[in-house]
């Protein structure tokens, strides 16, 4: 049976044609393209006045660090932020799409978005792709019903927790939380604990590294502390430069332009009217 254009979703059931094609290709020996994964340690916790989210900033592509300072805390709504682990493109695309849907929804209703709305939109999308959208998220925010923190797994299941960690560094971070978390933390205590948990992931997990990003969301206010901590400062090449003792002598300098320089004179005229 021939398939019509890919844009129209087929009626009834999911279409896994491309998955079958991919399996067939790998069997024939074609190596699948590697994804830019975000290794990652992402955490969230609920404190006295709201929610604190934290993330490291390393993006890996296999054994290579692809981005030393990427942003893993994504904006969803003025009062809701989402940390993403897994395939970077997937987390970006999914959070972008849901953020757009939430904005439209806010216009229609005239109200602030609720965390549970974002949660439901995300899990609906992830479930419909049966785990192929590899995005593991920590969603946190404060809405009219109070502070909320959720984790979302790539297959679409969710948890509601007072503190949560995700990503390859989640075990390292969770050990810090399990030892030191208590209810009713103040803002500074909470930030300190989140930073400690992320650092634990940065130092003990290869997939996480570089700096600590923190986002504090309270009722009516949010603070995005980009690069809150930089425990891995990069030393650059010395500004003095290198000095070499033995130099090659320059005998002759001759410059030959490869092509002629043409002067372009702009004639003042009417711009194209729409």
């Amino acid at each position: 049976m021939s398939q019509s254009s890919v844009d129209v979703p087929p009626k009834g059931g999911f279409s896994f044609d491309l998955c079958k094609r991919n399996d067939m290709l790998t069997q024939k020996g074609l190596k699948a393209p590697s994804f830019l994964k975000t290794g990652t340690t992402i955490v969230g916790l609920i404190f006295k006045d709201g929610v604190i989210l934290g993330a490291d900033t390393r993006a890996t592509e296999g054994p290579i660090v692809a981005d030393k300072n990427c942003e893993k805390i994504h904006y969803m709504a003025p009062n809701i932020y989402c940390c993403g682990a897994g395939t970077a493109a997937d987390t970006e695309a999914v959070t972008d799409m849901v953020s757009s849907q939430l904005r439209l929804h806010r216009y229609q209703t005239g109200r602030d978005s609720r965390v549970i709305t974002a949660l439901t939109l995300l899990k609906k999308h992830l479930f419909s792709y049966q785990g192929h959208v590899s995005a593991a998220l920590v969603l946190g925010g404060v809405d009219i019903t109070g502070p909320h923190l959720h984790t979302i797994y790539p297959h679409g299941s969710t948890d509601t927790l007072p503190f949560a960690t995700m990503g390859s560094g989640s075990l390292a971070a969770m050990s810090v939380f399990e030892a030191k978390y208590k209810e009713g933390l103040t803002r500074d205590e909470g930030i300190k604990l989140v930073a400690e948990a992320i650092c634990s992931g940065i130092f003990n997990d290869l997939g996480s590294g570089s700096n600590v990003d923190i986002c504090v969301i309270t009722k009516g206010n949010k603070e995005y502390l980009r690069n809150y901590m930089e425990p891995n400062p990069r030393t650059y090449v010395s500004s003095k430069g290198y000095s070499f003792t033995k130099k090659t002598e320059v005998l002759l300098t001759k410059i030959t332009p490869l092509s002629e320089k043409v002067e372009i004179v702009e004639v003042a005229g009417e711009a194209m009217e729409e």
């Binding site: 972008d96 799409m97 757009s100 904005r103 439209l104 216009y107 229609q108 729409e274």
Partner: protein, 177 residues
């Protein structure tokens, strides 16, 4: 054969070259509540008369002026329900533009897309034109702008404009001042 014999079918021209349904739509607009807009050097003002059918109606629930984006708003003259539908479509288009280009939609683009929607309803089967004229006011990097969009789908940029009841009085007043 007079024009009236062509007035039932929207998608048929009359011998005089008019689409009579659109003329009727403009009449519907002309009997709606007055609304007007004025473009200033540093902004745009739009206003409308909010006359409720009875004092029992909850005045706060009626919103005649709506946001399409944080910097574009709109007001109408004509049929309220048609306005609601257009606002919803326009908001979605503005949002899609923002998602695609990561740029807030310029006023002209949004006006053009809304006008395209209105024109589609004058050339499709089984639908009727919108019974509203919109005044779209916005402020983008080209400065303050004011557009009027008609049921036919045509749009114009105005320095000041009025629509609805008593439009001739309103326009005379605006022209003078």
């Amino acid at each position: 054969m007079g024009d009236s014999q062509y007035s039932f079918s929207l998608t048929t021209f009359s011998p005089s070259g008019k689409l009579v349904q659109i003329e009727h739509a403009l009449t519907a607009v002309g009997s709606g509540q007055t609304s007007l807009g004025i473009k200033a050097s540093n902004g745009v003002v739009i206003a409308t008369e909010k006359k409720l059918p009875s004092i029992l109606v909850d005045e706060a629930s009626v919103q005649k002026i709506q946001h399409l984006t944080p910097n574009i708003g709109t007001v109408y003259s004509g049929m309220g329900p048609d306005f609601r539908v257009l606002v919803r479509k326009s908001r979605k288009q503005a949002e899609q533009y923002l998602r695609l280009y990561k740029e807030p939609i310029p006023v002209t683009q949004l006006v053009r897309e809304t006008a395209t929607v209105m024109q589609e309803f004058t050339q499709s089967g089984g639908v009727r034109p919108f019974g509203v004229s919109l005044l779209v006011a916005g402020y983008d990097d080209k400065g303050p702008q004011l557009y009027q969009v008609d049921p036919s789908g045509s749009y114009f940029s105005w320095k000041a404009s009025a629509m609805g009841k008593n439009v001739s009085n309103a326009k005379t007043f605006l022209e003078k001042r």
